[in-house]
Symmetry: C2
Subunit: 106 residues, 2 copies
Amino acid sequence: MIDFKWLQTEKKVAREAFDKAYQKECDVIIAKLKKMIKTTKEPDDIWRICDYLTEQRDRTDEKYDYRYSVLIFVFARLIKEGWLTEADLEGIGKDKIEKVQFLLTM
Amino acid sequence: MIDFKWLQTEKKVAREAFDKAYQKECDVIIAKLKKMIKTTKEPDDIWRICDYLTEQRDRTDEKYDYRYSVLIFVFARLIKEGWLTEADLEGIGKDKIEKVQFLLTM
């Protein structure tokens, strides 16, 4: 947990970046879902989709945590995984960006 | 619970009828799923599908109980709901059919 002060302008950038990454990740889930449904015929195929979605919900719920105390860690993880780039965080203070960059080297 | 004796030939008919109803009900779930997915764009749309499938799994798990001690009740319910007709149970002994018919009048 890090106790940074977030300015209103930074909060706006942070929220947009966060939502963008979440939407991108959900777009991948939707694409996979559409692919799965194409071959869905048997009851077990349905429950396989159900298991997949439950797993994705648990995984994204854990990852997309918008508390300011953990947001730097979230952003570092999203960049590492390719859902965001550093450019998406433009407008966020240098203190926070440096912390993200430090986390990316770990 | 009813303690009927089930002959091998009756078990075969029962299993086929049971599986047929389950598949029919699952086909409806699949059709609804395909319809839902067509308008899926936002993250919340995904989790709505996840909720829907979880609900359907709980509902069908509870309903499709293949223990011989409860099968007569299951068949009566499936006929009442339109997933089976009495003709699907042809080959099952008169004692059991009469019990199903009795349950249908309740």
